[in-house]
């Protein structure tokens, strides 16, 4: 055996440049990473440069002659009531606003996290008191606590920071407590402690990395909230005082003059909005950066080009929503009153709403406004619709962009009050309008002609496929209850299509108990779910036919199907606790199906429920029916599940691992109940289990599944005697039997089940089969009869090669 290269032979670089670390690559793996870096860069640069670039004079100097002006070339966003430049003041307020928010958040984070961590390590009684205290403070409106604290410490910027810092700490304490308490109970922390690692090391390498994600996101959220809260206090006049000003204070000034110069309030408001957005993106990107599953992304994802990744629908949406937000903030700015000698108040919002005062504007602008109005609506609509349309999304987005560009250039020309540009701007706006119109028509046409839209959500219906290849005489059971031909479940995943259930044919006779075994992932559960039409999204189920009592359920209408399956088929699942609704009484859950399908009610229904409870040996049924699932024990719950399945006297029960979650003693009891039901009521049972012992105990026939196919169909009585499929043989050998020799190693099956998206060419079991021969790699063995009641999918058994027969 050639030695694999040892770990120590591999030279991993000790130092990775920051931008090549897995963290940073994951950080940038979504557009939010770029947006966060970009916006944060701008904010920081502004905070650093604004006080240097702008002189005090520029910001504070009054000029009453030019007060409350609209946007102009001198004052891009206009002037305030004292004639000061709005943009400059907004920029100048950046460092103070950020500083206040960061220190308030920092304080809340330090106090909160410390309090939370300490609480988690307090002894029982004290901890409860501390928790209660945190809860109480949490229930109290934070801003009110802050206001009250301001009353105590006095109205000032420092006071506001202190108040917010304290008022916000309980929610952070609660988060920290939950995390600290939760993480301590985890298995990997326990194993680190057992391994004797020092507390410092456990905290640094086990606890912090695992809670960092949440802590960072929570901290960033807290920072955004602190910014809002400090601004709120300033807005109320309880924060920044004197000649100092932050964004909140600017807004206060602005709100008073909202009617005259809306930009006065809107500019600082936008600044707050952008900062909030930055923090949000930053949190999202950091969380991605800290997620180890993104460190090891599969090649297929990473190989997608930069462009492909960044022009995914998410990017469009994120930038779309950012644009929407900006539009929301800036819309009212675009007042064309720069054109209007009378300075009429005509705002962007008014344009949109069709309320612009047209008589007072020039004729040329009227046309422009009309275009603009329609164009702007269409651009907005397109932007929104393009999220949902499938194929023309990108086209629509580009067209919408062009529209927006046209409109934008028009606005710019107005802003600059440069009438020479007006003609060109109008032309582009008009072009944008026509393009938008075409795009809308295309979009509507596409929505109406899109077939996939009408078939959406049909995944849990079985699609009938052509019957040409069906071998009818394949199985001839005496009284067939269920006949399935060509059952296939497909999932079209990003990484490729897989078929976890692949062309299955099976028959169940009336009154049989048939077992299905196989390793996990072999498709047992999906087969059951497909028959019950419960396959999860986005699975697609198809079959030539599925006949239950002779009726093909693939060709039934939804209404027929509901009634037919509702009364003929029942399912029992693995975990009885989670399969019963915790909020409903057992009685309600038992009776709802017959109430719907058989229109039973009142006494009859109650008596039926009592009967069924008796069938599964639940005593004191009257009382039990009034109880909730949490009042039942595990075994009792599974009995109740079975009783529920029996309510409509179905002809078929599909039980998917009904005993796996239970103890052996309870398992034996449940098996007995199932056997009894089968014998007394003649119900056919399809029992899925990974435990071949359970199957042998109760079933008459067993289907063995491997990689989505049935590889053997055999009577249980023959299972331990005749030649079997090599996989079945290996499965049985791997179970430590009760009389096995304890000194011999167990027979294990080498390797692993194959990946469904990378199945071997011939027999799927070939890589693990000890009898494998040349033909196995070429062809897939079909499921063929070797005896009347025995089907095997293996060349060794159906067409043995010359040398193999010798054995």
């Amino acid at each position: 055996m050639s030695r694999a290269p040892a770990y120590s032979d591999v030279q991993a670089p000790i130092y990775l440049a920051f931008w090549r670390t897995p963290f940073f690559r994951a950080f940038l793996s979504s557009p939010s990473g770029f947006l966060a870096l970009f916006l944060a860069g701008i904010l920081f640069a502004t905070a650093l440069l604004a006080p240097l670039a702008l002189t005090k004079e520029e910001v504070y100097q009054r000029n009453v002659r030019r007060r409350l002006e609209g946007p102009s070339a001198d004052h891009i966003l206009g002037t305030d009531n004292l004639g000061r430049d709005i943009l400059k003041r907004t920029l100048y307020a950046t460092p103070l606003s950020l500083q206040l928010a960061l220190s308030a958040a920092g304080m809340a984070i330090v106090i909160g996290f410390a309090a939370g961590a300490v609480t988690a390590y307090l002894p029982g009684r004290l901890r409860n008191v501390a928790l209660r205290l945190i809860e109480i403070m949490l229930a109290f409106p934070g801003i009110l606590i802050a206001i009250m604290l301001v009353a105590v410490v006095g109205t000032s910027a420092e006071g506001a920071v202190l108040a917010i810092g304290i008022a916000f700490s309980p929610s952070l304490a609660r988060v920290a407590y939950t995390l600290a308490a939760g993480v301590a109970g985890l298995d990997y922390i326990a194993s680190a402690r057992v391994l004797g690692l020092s507390s410092r090391r456990i905290v640094a390498r086990y606890i912090i990395p695992n809670i960092a994600e949440t802590l960072i996101v929570v901290s960033l959220n807290a920072t955004a909230a602190a910014l809002v809260a400090v601004s709120s206090l300033s807005f109320l006049g309880l924060g920044v005082q004197g000649t100092q000003f932050d964004w909140g204070r600017l807004i206060t000034e602005g709100v008073l003059r909202l009617y005259q110069v809306p930009l006065l309030a809107l500019a600082p408001a936008t600044a707050i909005g952008i900062t909030g957005l930055t923090l949000g993106y930053l949190g999202e990107a950091l969380a991605r950066g800290l997620n180890p599953t993104l460190w090891t992304q599969t090649a297929s994802v990473q190989s997608r080009s930069w462009l492909q990744r960044y022009f995914s629908s998410e990017t469009m949406l994120l930038s779309g929503s950012a644009l929407l937000l900006i539009a929301f903030y800036f819309l009212p700015w675009f007042s064309p009153d720069a054109l209007d000698p009378n300075r009429t108040l005509v705002t962007g919002a008014a344009i949109l709403a069709g309320r612009a005062n047209l008589t007072e504007t020039a004729i040329g602008s009227q046309v422009a406004l009309l275009l603009l109005r329609t164009g702007a609506w269409i651009a907005l609509l397109l932007g929104f619709l393009s999220y949902f349309s499938l194929r023309f999304r990108r086209l629509c987005a580009y067209l919408g962009l062009i529209c927006g560009f046209g409109a934008g250039s028009y606005f710019v020309s107005i802003l600059l009050a440069d009438s020479t540009n007006l003609g060109a701007a109008l032309a582009s706006a008009r072009l944008g309008f026509y393009l938008g119109l075409i795009a809308t028509i295309l979009l509507i046409a596409q929505v109406f002609s899109d077939k996939s839209a009408t078939t959406r959500g049909s995944h849990n219906v079985i699609h009938p496929t052509s019957q040409a290849s069906v071998v009818e005489a394949d199985m001839s059971l005496p009284r067939p209850l269920l006949q399935v031909r060509g059952l296939t479940v497909r999932f079209d995943l990003e990484s490729g299509a897989i078929a976890p259930v692949n062309d299955i044919n099976l028959d169940l006779a009336e009154g049989e108990i048939v077992g299905v075994v196989g390793e996990s992932g072999s498709g047992k559960s999906l087969t059951a779910l497909a028959l019950a039409q419960l396959v999860p999204h986005p699975g697609i189920v198809s079959a030539h036919y599925v006949r239950l009592r002779g009726e093909d359920i693939t060709r039934m209408s939804a209404g027929q199907l509901r009634y037919f399956l509702g009364s003929e088929m029942a399912m029992i699942f693995q975990d009885p606790m989670s399969s019963l609704n915790p909020a409903l009484k057992i009685g309600t859950q038992l009776t709802e199906a017959p109430r719907v399908h058989r229109r039973l009610s009142g006494k009859d229904l109650h008596r039926l429920a009592l009967d069924r409870m008796a069938d599964v040996h639940i005593s004191a049924a009257e009382r039990r029916l009034r109880q909730y699932p949490h009042e039942f024990s595990g075994g009792m719950r599974q009995r109740a599940m079975i009783a529920m399945g029996l309510m409509n006297s179905p002809s078929l029960i599909i039980a998917d691992e009904p005993t796996t979650a239970l103890d052996v003693t309870i398992q034996a009891q449940i098996i007995d109940v199932l056997r009894e039901i089968n014998q007394e009521q003649g119900t056919t049972i399809m029992l899925i289990s990974h435990d071949i012992g359970v199957i042998v105990e109760i079933c008459s026939r067993v289907l063995v599944m491997y990689a989505g196919r049935i590889v053997e169909d055999v009577k249980v009585t023959d299972l331990l005697t005749t030649d079997k499929h090599p996989y079945t043989e290996a499965l049985i050998a791997a179970v430590p039997a009760f009389d096995s020799n304890r000194d011999e190693p167990l027979a294990s099956i080498p390797g692993r089940p194959p990946d469904l998206d990378n199945l071997p060419a011939g027999c799927a079991f070939a890589p693990r089969c000890k009898y494998v021969f040349e033909r196995c790699h070429r062809e897939a063995p079909p499921l063929l009869h070797v005896e009347e009641t025995h089907r095997i999918a293996c060349f060794l058994r159906t067409e043995p090669p010359a040398e193999a027969t010798r054995e």
């Binding site: 409860n128 629908s313 709403a353 399969s579």
Partner: protein
């Protein structure tokens, strides 16, 4: 998350009390425990508001008498306020006053605080109540709807649109929303009135401003919880029984989702009350929020004390109501509280 939260909520006051009440049925036991914790919380609230005056800088007596008052006047006010008494006696007086619904009189307007509360509270209640109504009627159906449409990774685009929309609107501070709404609907379009309480439509803008943020955050929680519930095995069981969709949604999904909505409902209401303080100031809505800001400006301690206490009591009562409602909706809560 619901059950673990409920567990946390209730594990706090088990202990001696649990032993004392272990012979009662689950409901009396639960109610008794709630009542006990209510009592403790109210006592803490009283202590906190009482301390306010003593922690505050400056002498309340000087405040009350006015800056240019004489030493005798100040001494007189000190006596009138009871500040010459030892702290415990002052506290007992305070509690007695509160029990008589006497919170003192405003330093500035000399109006009795009780009167101020009577005048102002209905306005705040109207605003917060309408807000809560909007929050519950919009966010729960919205969250469930979007949750149902985006289950199992369906409709990725709708999901992203919903997430961006709710995250941006839950980051919008109330005073911004209020300002914008006022600007667009009152100033520009002149559709809705502001700065008045005379017209019945006047509440629309303040109520929307105050509820936008809670709507967004609650809708997110409801959507997540809907996804969570829809992925539960018991929903699969219900589907395997071929129940009509509306039954699955109303009987199996709704109660479980409501539990989550209710659990944070108390927090949402607290947030709403906080929002009213801001929004009242934007819209000149004559409620308690507007009054408390005035009071803080003027360091009018009795008014601050009264209003904060009042808000506190309401929040605590609402939370208790939520707890009881939760126990009614979800029978497990009763057991977990033991």
């Amino acid at each position: 998350m619901t059950s673990s939260q409920a567990l946390q909520r209730h594990s706090a006051d088990s202990g001696t009390l649990a032993r004392l009440t272990s012979r009662l049925g689950p409901w009396p036991r639960f109610l008794l425990k709630r009542a006990a914790s209510l009592f403790v919380v109210l006592a803490m609230l009283l202590a906190l508001t009482f301390l306010l005056i003593h922690l505050a800088p400056g002498d309340p007596a000087v405040r009350k008498a006015g800056i240019d008052a004489s030493a005798e006047q100040i001494e007189f006010e000190r006596k009138a306020l009871g500040l010459d008494q030892p702290l415990p006696i002052q506290f007992i007086r305070y509690v007695q006053g509160v029990a008589r619904l006497d919170f003192g009189t405003s330093f500035i307007t000399k109006q009795s605080v009780t009167e101020i509360l009577q005048q102002r509270f209905p306005r705040t209640f109207q605003l917060a109540g309408t807000g809560l109504l909007i929050v519950m009627t919009v966010s729960v159906p919205l969250g469930i709807l979007v949750g149902a449409l985006t289950r199992e990774g369906r409709n990725r685009r709708l999901e992203v649109a919903f997430m961006s929309l709710t995250s941006t609107s839950s980051a919008l501070p109330e005073f911004l929303t209020a300002t914008f709404l006022a600007f667009i609907f009152a100033v520009t379009l002149n559709w809705l009135p502001v700065g008045t309480t005379q017209k019945s439509t006047a509440i629309i803008l303040p109520a929307i401003s105050v509820s936008l943020r809670p709507v967004a955050s609650l809708a997110r929680v409801v959507r997540l919880e809907t996804l969570n519930v829809l992925a539960q095995d018991y929903i699969r069981t219900a589907r395997s029984k071929r129940l009509p969709t509306y039954v699955i949604f109303t009987r199996h999904l709704l109660p479980n989702v409501l539990t989550a909505a209710l659990t944070i409902g108390g927090l949402v209401f607290a947030g709403l009350l906080g929002g009213t303080v801001i929004v009242e100031n934007v819209f000149a809505w004559p409620g308690l929020g507007q009054r408390v800001v005035d009071a803080v400006f003027n360091l009018d301690y009795p008014v601050i004390q009264g209003i904060v206490l009042y808000f506190g009591v309401i929040v605590v009562l609402i939370n208790t109501a939520v707890d009881i409602l939760l126990a009614l909706v979800d029978p497990r809560t009763l057991v977990l509280s033991e």
